[in-house]
């Protein structure tokens, strides 16, 4: 009997995994992409030093990797957006980064209103 409950619990838990469960990682990736754009924009304007920019790129990429590896549906549209972000070079154009951030924001808003 106990084992049946355990199986049922595992099934229910599996059912709840999906886009809703991924929402926090989508938000995280959206924010990281926007932060990355802001850092690159300031770097291009010569307002921040190279050491800071390099360190920030490292931490932001780590954050994206963590978000990407936590997704329960990596082959989704948001999974593809995050993969595309990870493929970009550190000095990617702020506009490119913002467009990925905005795409993730649209997905996030759609999931939140669903």
């Amino acid at each position: 009997m106990g084992r049946q409950y355990l199986l049922l619990f595992a099934l229910l838990a599996a059912c709840t995994r999906g886009p809703d469960d991924d929402l926090q990682y989508i938000k995280q990736a959206r924010s990281i992409a926007a932060e990355w754009a802001l850092v690159n924009e300031q770097a291009n304007a010569g307002r921040v030093n190279v050491t800071y920019v390099t360190a920030m790129h490292g931490w932001l990429r780590d954050g994206l990797l963590a978000a990407s590896s936590s997704l329960s549906e990596p082959k989704s549209d948001y999974g593809a957006e995050i993969s595309a972000l990870l493929a970009l070079p550190s000095d990617a154009a702020p506009a490119t980064l913002r467009s990925h951030s905005e795409s993730l924001k649209l997905i996030e808003d759609a999931l939140e209103s669903a």
């Binding site: 300031q42 307002r47 954050g63 963590a66 939140e112």
Partner: protein, 411 residues
Amino acid sequence: MNPLELTLGIMTAVGGFVDISELVFAARAGSTFGYALIWVFAFATIGIIIFAEMSGRVAAVAKQPVFNLMRHRLGLKLGLVTLAASVISNLITCAAEIGGVALILNYLTGAPYLLLAAGMTVLLIVSIWVLPFKWIERTYGLLGLFMIVFAVALVAIHPPWDQIALGLVPQVPSGLSTKELLTFGYFTVAILSAVMFPYEVYFYSSGGIEEGWTPKDLLTNRVTSIVGMGLGSLLAIAILASSAQLFGPANVDPEIPGSAALQAAIPFGKWGLILALLGMLFAVAGAAVETCLANAYSIAQYFGWMWGRRKKPWEAPRFTMSWIALFGLAFGIVLTGVDVMTLVEFAVLFSILVLPLTYLPLLLLAGDQKFMREHANGAVAKLLGWFYFGVITMAAVAALPLFFLTSGGNG
């Protein structure tokens, strides 16, 4: 009252007010909810002023540090539970501060994070060993004044002052979904916890005893806690308001502490960035020292050991071993590779659970005329003290459900 000492005390309190949790939650609160959470910072600051003043008064009049009171007022068993909970909470907070210091140094130097964490742990231990108590507090507090660049940066970006002023009015923004309301609730509880961290009271009251306060120092205690903490809280509010202005519209929910430094870089360029990072570095390093010493004070006071940095390290050997071991343990937590932001969230969560147990014995003793004589809590202090005790108790009850329902404020 020596004016120079008073000014230094106030400046130390201002520079030492912001720690890694306040930094993180102020920036995230501003980007997520605009100016709507400013009132929580103001409200929590009044709370910490009330309890800090009370703990300083008890230290000056009854010569009792908080943990001594706890053992006597709560009894040995409940006292031990409180000790264990606060040691865990302070340890996680200390680890978050060490991780934060290493991160900030990484932005400044580019050296490897874990190497910086190890180096800073050693440096913090040496600074406590070498510096007299007063100068431990002052060195970090005064250098933390570089954080003022955040307030100047806010002025430079011409924020909507009317909206900032409106943020001081207690409110819940209209039109939020249930999920957003829960997240707003989580941020409210987290800010309350981050501003009223229990270690601040343990450190402040033990510091009063370290410095040999007497009833003659009560005015200094009152002015330092009200003006110093009040002005310190303005720095946290400046970070929140800049974040609302710069990060919110850009879809940024600062995921790492380094993003907050951009608030100064945007108006002032490289020098603004460096001043912001230096201010963050010293303020967070100071908080690491305070959390670690607060833990050692708590343990030594509970078990009745010799304690205090006014003594030579070998004159209070168990106390000395405690703070060194606690630094080692906090560094051990950082070494596990756990993310600083996760540590900050756990620190805030554990601390709010401990807060009611920290403030109850303090309230009881500060109101006891047998110990405090004419310096016992008056009607206003009693009313405010019990009101805030009720609020933090409710926050402690709500903290865990809100944390799980909002995935730690991530929606």
